[in-house]
């Protein structure tokens, strides 16, 4: 009744090609953004902003990056955390060594560094695919962390490679409170997400999907497979790199190379599997799930266990987390390979047809 395209006529190509063709979708997106930009900073307390919303946004961005590579271009990567590390340490060094460099410029250049590393480790994708490629990205994961730990230049000769991010300053304004950091991260993530949304429905994104679905056929219709794959690696790593810089600057403040370990890579891979492979919205849903779930589990597992009379040993909730994540991955892959985003899509389809079942 409410959610239906009836009566919305497109009279120009521009209207037909806009990102959200349905008026209700546009209203929904604008409303979400308004809530995120205005209501949330006013309502949420420091804990929510610093410990939940900022990591959620940062991980969404990283998941978005991985989704571009794995979901759209079909190249599995297990080295996401390494690209994030390159972004974080890149931004740190630009900020440290170039006096005049604005912080946003450092973030972007950190992303560019990550993009170059991504291209480097994406080169094997030209000859190999599937889990052979996964091993290549695994090499990136181990090599980058090792290099950042062992070459002290990257961390300005600090002990064991720990870096402390400089304060974020733009035009004399310092981003110190959770509120201001949240708004900065939100602005960056919104911009990059819109860019990604546009990218995947442009020629570039269609080329990625063609290569993903059948590379030989893509080559036959004239898509340069090599360039397309490497571009996917570059763009994906750029997103991951910016996410890594934000992870260091806006979320943790102090990071070490070992923090960007394989576990983080897997976590981000889980985000896109649960959220939805090949979906921008899915990256956000998956990140929200993976960030919120352990918190909820910690909060409610023990009272629940006590209520039904089981005594949970300490440390059990982290094991439960592993078990439930693992189980969910298998469940989603088997039952709903397109993840939470697909459920949302199904709900919208139903709404459009309502009150008719078909």
């Amino acid at each position: 009744m409410l959610y239906r395209e009836t009566g919305q006529f497109k009279t120009s190509y521009a209207a037909d090609q806009q990102i959200f063709p349905l008026r209700q979708d546009r209203i929904g997106v604008v409303a979400t953004l308004l809530v995120a930009f205005i209501v949330v900073p006013l309502v949420a307390n420091e804990y929510w902003l610093e410990a939940i919303l900022i990591p959620f946004l940062v991980f969404s961005l990283a998941a978005l990056g991985l989704n571009i590579l794995t979901g759209y271009a079909g190249q599995l990567s297990l080295g996401t955390a390494a690209f994030m590390a390159v972004g974080a340490f890149g931004a740190y060094n630009f900020e440290l060594r170039l006096e005049w460099m604005p912080i946003l410029g450092s973030f972007a250049l950190g992303g560019v560094c990550a993009a170059f590393v991504g291209i480097l480790f994406g080169l094997p994708s030209l000859r190999i695919k599937g889990f052979y490629l996964a091993v290549a990205t695994l090499a990136a994961q181990f090599f980058v962390v090792w290099a950042l730990t062992h070459f002290n230049w990257f961390s300005n000769y600090s002990a064991s490679g720990v870096i402390t991010a400089q304060r974020i300053e733009i035009f004399g304004f310092y981003f110190l409170t959770g509120q201001s950091k949240y708004l900065l991260v939100l602005a960056i993530v919104t911009l990059l997400a819109l860019a990604a949304k546009n990218m995947v429905r442009s020629e570039t994104g269609r080329a990625w999907m063609a290569v993903r679905d059948f590379d030989v056929a893509a080559a036959v219709i004239g898509i340069p497979v090599m360039r397309t794959k490497l571009l996917a690696f570059a763009v994906s790593s750029f997103y991951c790199g910016v996410a890594g810089a934000l992870y260091a600057y806006a979320y943790l403040g102090t990071v070490e190379p070992d923090g960007f370990n394989l576990d983080l890579s897997f976590r981000i891979l889980f985000m896109i599997i649960i959220g939805g492979v090949g979906s921008i919205l899915g990256s956000f849903l998956g990140a929200a799930f993976i960030v919120l779930f352990p918190i909820l589990l910690n909060r409610f597992a023990e009272p629940f266990a006590n209520a039904i009379g089981i005594d949970l040993p300490s440390g059990m909730s982290s094991n439960l987390e592993l078990i439930i994540f693992g189980g969910l991955i298998i469940f989603f892959l088997a039952v709903e390979p397109l993840g939470l985003a697909r459920l949302w899509q199904v709900a919208k389809e139903k709404l459009r047809l309502w009150p008719f079942p078909h």
């Binding site: 094997p124 052979y132 996964a134 693992g326 892959l333 390979p337």
Partner: protein, 297 residues
């Protein structure tokens, strides 16, 4: 020069341990085309289960027997719950499913038996062999030699099992062509359950040896990651490849660590094998003993 040989032999023996883990991968890959990322978690689970039973008071052979039953159950359950719903999915989906399985098994193992480091004593002393040390001056652990021996026995057993028994032939038929195997009446589901159970057995052996060497701890799961370059070097379908790949990886990373490491700051053992594997992929993507697949990428 003697130091070189000592490092080389140490590396080769460490490589045998890698081979043992890689063997589990190869078995499953051969029969079902699934790259089982959870093999490392299974090694960890097996070792922890044995230790758990022993702490409950069971003697070692009984603990191993009970653990074997648990591993077989785990294998059968995996086939039923994970693989069957995912039949006909792309390989990469199955691979991701086994990552999920790995997390599940790790959580289960720690949830059941606790997360602290356990010592596992299987009665083989980890001391250098004295007669060898007297004659040549080389330090070679008795434990490593026995591990190598066990590995050799295991490979022989598997070779006999695969080539001479009825089930083994069925397994090879399934590996060759699923549909053709089905057409001649080989029960695919049973075969897969058997393969996963056998892989569980191999994981048990690997878990016992690794656990006795390094203590039973979470780090055991990372052994699986080391098995990946072993497989790339040796080829995914070849048991011999797993052995040779393991030896190459073990010796090359030890040699690199000792002779190359000092120039770049040490710690290169962690990634050297991957880079070797990566370079190898560019030259010979199917590995040393793998089946050549002609495919344009």
């Amino acid at each position: 020069m003697q130091f070189f040989f000592e490092v080389l032999i140490g590396g080769l023996l460490a490589g045998i341990m890698y081979s043992l883990v890689a063997l589990g991968f190869v078995l499953i890959y051969k029969a079902s085309g699934v790259f089982n990322f959870a093999q490392g978690a299974m090694v960890f689970f097996a070792a922890l289960t044995v230790v758990g039973f022993m702490e409950q008071g069971a003697p070692l052979p009984l603990a191993i027997g009970l653990c074997l039953i648990v591993m077989i159950l785990l294998g059968v359950a995996t086939e039923r719950i994970v693989l069957r719903p995912l039949v006909n999915q792309p390989q990469i989906t199955l691979f991701m499913a086994t990552i999920g399985l790995a997390f599940f098994v790790e959580g289960l193992a720690q949830g059941l038996w606790g997360a602290q480091v356990h010592a596992l004593d299987i009665g083989i002393p980890d001391t250098p062999i004295e007669s060898l040390m007297d004659k040549t001056g080389m330090l070679i652990s008795q434990f490593d030699l026995i591990a190598a021996l066990i590995c050799a026995v295991l490979v022989t057993l598997l070779a006999v099992f695969f080539n001479k028994t009825r089930i083994g032939r069925a397994l090879r038929a399934v590996a060759d062509d699923h549909q053709a195997a089905l057409a001649v009446g080989i029960p695919l589901k049973q075969i897969w359950a058997i393969v996963w159970a056998v892989a569980g057995f191999v994981a048990l052996v690997a878990g016992l040896l690794w656990g006795a060497r390094n203590g039973v701890q979470f780090a055991l799961t990372f052994v699986a990651l080391k098995a990946l370059p072993v497989l790339i070097l040796g080829g995914f379908e070849s048991i011999a490849g797993a052995i040779v790949g393991g030896l190459i990886v073990g010796s090359s990373e030890k040699l690199a660590e000792v002779f190359l490491g000092p120039y770049v700051g040490g710690g290169i053992e962690g990634w050297f094998a991957y880079v070797v594997a990566l370079l190898f992929l560019l030259v010979r993507p199917q590995g040393l003993f793998g089946e050549k697949i002609i495919e344009r990428v």
